[in-house]
């Protein structure tokens, strides 16, 4: 028989940061040189860049330049300004226009976002997918290195169960040998195999 008053009071909650506060912290030398990104008010450390991840990102870079060419900006591991409390740094983002367009403000959306996932798979599938869906990013791909496949997320929808209230309704899993066209360049097919690094042995930590 608890009092109504106590039922309304919430448990202590984590402080959420705005992008302004986050950049101020960066200016003041916080983060100790670590690579970090801001996801809906929480600061996350990014994993160290192991070889397979680096190769995966470079392959995405090569393919995207080939496929998209002039009239599109390709940004690699640079920030997207998504709302007041998010500043993710996706492995690759394609935005209509030219890289010079973003001299004053980072892009606030992207036509295609690609994350290369090795150890960060769950983070990319859950936190990041919900974030990108919320931001209305129509085409979100995860290059899943451990399982050697491409996960294509489309059709952002509201979903109360998802971390930030949004998720992708359509998820396609594509394996080596299959191919997919970006939503905004539907005449060009990208082969999944071109996005995957060569098979490798995980080196001992």
């Amino acid at each position: 028989m608890s009092t109504p008053r106590t039922q309304i009071i919430a448990e202590p909650k984590p402080r959420r940061w705005t992008r302004k506060e986050y950049y101020k912290m960066g200016e003041m030398g916080f983060f100790d040189g670590d690579r970090v990104e801001l996801i809906e008010g929480q600061v996350f450390e990014m994993s160290p860049i192991y070889e397979p991840h680096a190769v995966g990102v470079s392959l995405a870079d090569d393919i995207l330049r080939e496929v998209f060419g002039k009239g599109w900006a390709i940004r690699i591991q640079n920030p997207l300004s998504l709302g007041e409390a998010s500043d993710p740094e996706p492995d690759a983002a394609v935005i209509k226009g030219h890289n010079r367009d973003f001299i004053v403000k980072h892009p606030t959306t992207a036509d295609l976002v690609i994350e290369v996932a090795d150890s960060s798979l769950l983070h990319d599938r859950n936190h990041k997918a919900s974030l990108y869906a919320k931001a209305g990013i129509m085409d979100y791909w995860i290059v899943n290195l451990p399982e050697r496949r491409l996960e294509v997320h489309r059709n952002p929808v509201a979903n109360a169960e998802a971390e930030f209230g949004f998720d992708y309704a359509d998820k396609l899993i594509l394996k080596e040998g299959e191919s997919v066209a970006p939503l905004t360049k539907s005449d060009v097919m990208i082969d999944v195999v071109d996005l995957l690094p060569p098979r490798y042995e995980k080196s001992a930590p």
Partner: protein, 209 residues
């Protein structure tokens, strides 16, 4: 809009703030609007304080000062410097020494920590307990206003299931009518009812055998 549950995904690593960064944030005015504390690298906003809470904290402070006297400092809602990533502000901390010992820096331990809890029971029983156990605080009490009892936690142990890898091996409940002896002064006896405000919204509880 806060999410209803904590999504803990093992590989995503929330950045853990150091106390230095936390104090710098305070200096530049990040926390003007809310009371906060630093718990193992996470900045947590504290719940608002209601009067029964304040009454109880004051009662606890008075009782401890009376019992412990000289050679001890009773600090209310002041920081403890526990490790590089934690700066909690327990409701009451009993610290050996004199007030001036802590001019330069906050105490790095306490002989007894007491949290008065109205609404955040689970948080103080679990998360905070794990933090204090990790810091080696030998005697940790939760004054539970809702159930009108004191929960005494003792014997810090390592515990893989606990949030910060530690918890208390012994947990005892003392109700109104009981008394508790603090580890730092086992000859002293503290009546549970001396630490509780008069019940306000709940009907008076009967003494059950």
């Amino acid at each position: 809009m806060a999410t209803a549950q904590r999504h803990i995904i093992p590989e995503s690593k929330p950045y853990r703030w150091t106390r230095e960064e936390y104090y710098k944030m305070g200096e530049i005015g990040f926390f003007e609007d809310k009371r906060v504390e630093l718990i193992e690298g996470e900045v947590i906003e504290m719940s608002p304080i209601y009067s029964p809470h304040t009454t109880s904290v004051t009662l606890v402070g008075e009782v401890l000062r009376e019992i412990f006297g000289k050679g001890w400092v009773v600090r209310e809602e002041k920081p403890l410097s526990l490790g590089i990533n934690s700066d909690p502000e327990p409701d009451v901390a009993l610290v050996a020494g004199k007030i001036r010992d802590f001019e330069e820096s906050h105490p790095s331990t306490a002989a007894l920590v007491i949290e008065v809890v109205d609404s955040s029971l689970s948080y103080d029983r679990n998360r905070k307990a794990s933090l204090y156990a990790k810091a080696g605080i030998a005697d940790y009490w939760v004054v539970n206003l809702q159930d009108r009892q004191i929960e005494v936690h003792r014997r810090p142990i390592s515990d893989a299931n606990a949030e910060f890898g530690f918890s208390y091996g012994d947990k005892m409940i003392f109700k109104e009518g009981d008394s508790v002896k603090p580890l730092a002064k086992p000859k002293a006896s503290i009546e549970v009812s001396d630490l509780l405000p008069q019940s306000v919204s709940k009907p008076k509880e009967k003494d059950n055998a």
